[in-house]
Symmetry: D2
Subunit: 366 residues, 4 copies
């Protein structure tokens, strides 16, 4: 079940970086939902490589073809299937990596798990390219959610040690939520963004790479989505964001910072705003007991620095059983964080829409 | 699917805090595995309340009865089912909370989701008591893993702002791993532990509560467990630790700190240790591409401060639609972190054993 | 995943015939549904042993205790768990069967699968007793369905070569549907029922047993339930009825008889009955493309003769690797068909309610 | 979850008859398994239309393209994805069917379920074409099973009222098992086959269609595959064969005929054949308690007559709410049974391989 999210929606991702194609199937979409392919393409373009100095120079159109599941531009009840052809592949770059695994990559663990039968070209199924199908599924969910007044946005919260300002967890507006996604470098504070870009260029010049943090929020959620224990919003979102290869941590609301607060500080006091129940703070990140409380759902994701760096690195030769030095050639992002922003939105959109479908299922008043 | 982990093992948790019982079923255990009930009881005792000043005074034996799945002390291939009777319940403490939700609890979100039909007594299905069945399932997995040389341990990494020293992520010994679990207050550095206990007492005296961080590690794992994308070790563990009510974050290896490192710092260089492939650092937390690499699997979990505090708090009356002040009576832990330590171990043990079963399934050499 | 139905409802059955208890958990029931325990008991009594000459003389109250999932008599959103204690067990009857497997039973296959660790007493997890938890889950679904005007009924269509008349697949009334379930011997035609009972007594007198066929129908179903291909109503119902140990076949509508018809005969012509679309015949059994069409859903189930017979039978000694003769002592039903009738209803009720929940999930008009 | 088989293998089918493509993903295949594409094509050709008088004249190459999951001709651990382009489509044939549903088809039920948004062209996702992806998945499983000495075969047991001889359920040879699959008209007794073909031609000449029965067997299975209750071999196979659109019944071993036998006749006596446990008869169809017993696994499937017939048929106009007469034009099989034979084999192969993977998972001796 390596690449399947199996809930009320089933999202099944396939492909290797240099296979004929990558793609996704989405089972469980209600019939009649419009899919705006131009809007989907615009969303995919946000994760496309090659649009900034921080990015690899590999250019791929990443134009999905919808093979099934649509009729006259709307979902038809049948599973949706979409593929992206892999065209700009240079497999010779990678063959020697079968013996000498790249530090920070899955080369070694895949070698052990698959007994040498894994596809190593371009990272195979472990490639960051596999987030493109995730974005197809998530982009479609985002469109359906937006028509119900639910909006998903994200921004770069930090690159290395340089921080963007955070979303306002209480009074977040739709404009603030979505503004970063419209920029080539998705931040709230463009000055911070420029500093981040400079830091990336410096790291690149030193044949190195940077990591960062992404903050994501969902606005317009009704209270009552998600389940206790194993299908809470945290569980669902965590399961999906860790599908993004470089993600190594996730926290919700105050998250790790909450661990240092006292209960009297961390508890979000309820109050009535007209007929609506709201909280004055949002350390819970909009989730109590796994279930949305109607406040903005807010979480952060830690992204490790790109493991592919051009410096010589210490590794081993698996066939000879000895230490060796590895030099990675090819094209790589010095910082994957900007391109990971729409991927995090996609993961959140799938999780949220999955919970929304579940809520409809159980909503009959007995 | 609120309370089910559905992988190669299926762990299904049921119960409410003041229902006749809480319990768990575990489907998919191989036949013939011994279950040492005394060892299981000792493990459950680690999460039992009432053993320290930081804990609630509610006393429950928490003695599980195995209803099915064992024959002559061994798994028999049929689903294992275990229950713990709820005996020490005082339901009248809770009835008025149906109208006035406690900040930081699931009272409000459950009210919306279940339309007022939820069981509110003692937090119902959202109670921390539901981690006892998680510990039954996890405790059994721990025993089976230990017989295969795989050990799971955890300790309090921080209470509030007071930190324990961390596990050595590279040279962690079995002794260091398991030592905290044998202490009433599970830390590595007992001086830090004393400081933590004092801090908890201070907070308690001020009618307040503290949160903290738990660090967990798994030793002896073979390389090759876990899957890319949606069933990686991170995804599985994250899904399970967020089943523990107060958990608000999880990160693996360097985790959020990795976001501030450069690739040249964060990449773990491979080297040969005799015939074994190892890494000199372990920022990856033993996981590359979702798959174990044979190094210690290490992760941290953020635990929020107990939301139940005796101070008056601002809330709302849902029936009257107006603001009000809430005072919570009853028995509560001023810091849940010590009792959450075995729960985190249980979550890790289930995730790891699930992945181990999967590896056996796929291991036939073609 | 041996004993779990995992759909929009998750029904997880546990227990062995002579373990402390048998039971079931049901996850996914909407909150607020009333559960009438007396009605449930009455339903369970229909499968209880000891009420006729065709039945084993083992007496068990089969009184379920609801451990969780109810609050004030209604579902509360948390998983429902129920157990039945095993009280009237005589384990010594079975021990010698570990070496000499009973023909027609799972003794041999369990021995191979579980390597001798299986619980053999009373058939262990393979016992017909495990249909009692199935009936608890199904009985609850039946109650919820009935409140929505959906009724499930079944009758003995045949015992050996003696047939009852069939349900009218087109004009089936609620009275005809439910009448058999109110009788001690659930048939439509009591004359046929008497003949069946005589045949069972004859077989019993000859130390033999009889099989039969059960016909089940569901009335009041809206059109549109079920899915194409792998989650059609046929797939769901088939998966559930084969959980009943003695079931060896299932067909829908004209079923196997349809294979001998021509298309012009088998096709059910549509017509308008006022504003309702109906069909003049119902060879489809109310299902087209896996989806209900609003006509009665009708299917049949083949039940093999009870394998436990008192005659000496040829078997083998697994330990000695040689042929031997086996005599089965103990208490057994000479014909399991009457007691299997409510089990088939339970299976149908779970499948139908699962599909109904799914329909609600997808029903938002975009 | 309409089109997903979710077990140890996950098989996810997508496509509509006249969409750009149909296809399948298979997740969970072990790495290193060879996939012989020519052999797969030969298998797919057995279900291809246009090779006999009993078949539609629509010609499609049905050449699958493997998009992902293979490297150097072997499975690489990543999900396998394959598509078949739809090229020979004539959508205009179908548009008027949106209002006037064809008897025996899913037009009406899909209209209700999907609110008019379903893809009607060529039957959309309900088309028999969707069995081609099932055959891709099943054909790959067949190859892997054959390398382990497990063989799956099937033949036409009956067309209308004309019967082929049955497989010998006890002494079935590999030659007998596989012979029908090598013939253009897959029967054991070619004289019966000629009679069937004549009957089909007669029915076709009378603008009518015929149904039939398919018998399938699996040879070489080890004892011990499958699980009690909900994941028995019967449950798995039933769930998969009902994915084939025209299937309306399934029974195992003696099946419905067992209902008329006595226990003393139906029980299969065990005996030792050298060191092997065998049974002298095989009324159980090789399955006891859901688990294989090492004898041939044998089952039958009922196939209804093709609902598309050229005769005028009674139907309704959904828009006008009145009765009408429908004439279906286009190309249709007068008897789908011959082409369904490999589909049944595919369903069986997936179910068996799924159970085999599960057995490996649980096989560690404690």
């Amino acid at each position: 079940m390596s690449s399947i999210y199996h809930g009320h929606l089933t999202v099944s991702i396939f492909g290797q970086s240099h296979a004929p194609a990558i793609g996704v199937t989405v089972d469980g979409l209600p019939a009649g939902e419009e899919v705006d392919l131009e809007e989907l393409q615009a969303f995919l373009n946000r994760r496309a490589p090659g649009t900034g100095s921080w990015s690899t120079t590999r250019k791929e159109a990443d134009r999905p073809e919808i093979l099934a599941g649509l009729d006259k531009g709307r979902t038809c009840g049948a599973p949706l299937a979409a593929v992206i052809r892999n065209t700009n592949t240079r497999s010779k770059d990678y063959e020697n990596l079968r013996d000498v695994p790249r530090p920070g990559h899955a080369d070694y663990t895949a070698q052990v798990k698959y007994g040498g039968f894994q596809d190593v070209a371009g990272g195979g199924h472990f490639s960051g390219r596999l987030t493109a199908p995730l974005c197809i599924a998530g982009g479609i969910c985002k469109q359906i959610l937006a028509r119900q007044g639910i909006y998903v946005g994200a921004h770069i919260a930090a690159v290395g040690t340089i921080a963007d300002r955070a979303y306002d967890p209480v009074d977040l507006t739709q404009e603030d939520l979505l503004a970063p996604g419209r920029k080539p470098f998705p931040v709230l504070d463009d000055q911070a963004g420029l500093a981040m870009q400079r830091a990336i260029e410096v790291a690149k010049g030193e044949l190195d790479s940077l990591g960062g943090v992404i903050q994501c929020a969902v606005l317009g959620l009704p209270a009552g989505l998600g389940d206790p224990m194993l299908d809470g919003m945290e569980n669902r979102i965590a399961r999906l964001v860790f599908a993004i290869p470089a993600v190594k941590g996730v926290d919700f609301g105050a998250g790790f910072a909450a661990a240092a607060l006292r209960g009297s500080e961390n508890n979000d006091a309820f109050y009535m705003d007209g007929s609506q129940v709201k909280t004055r703070t949002n350390h819970a990140g909009g989730i109590l007991g796994g279930i949305t409380n109607g406040m903005p759902l807010v979480f952060r994701v830690a992204v490790k620095p790109t493991p592919s760096i051009a410096r010589p690195q210490k590794s081993v030769s698996l066939s000879r059983g000895e230490n060796t030095i590895l030099e990675i050639h090819g094209r790589h992002d010095p910082c994957i964080v900007p391109r990971a922003v729409p991927c995090v939105e996609a993961a959140a959109a799938i999780a949220v829409y999955d919970a929304l479908l579940e809520q409809q299922e159980r909503s009959r008043q007995p």
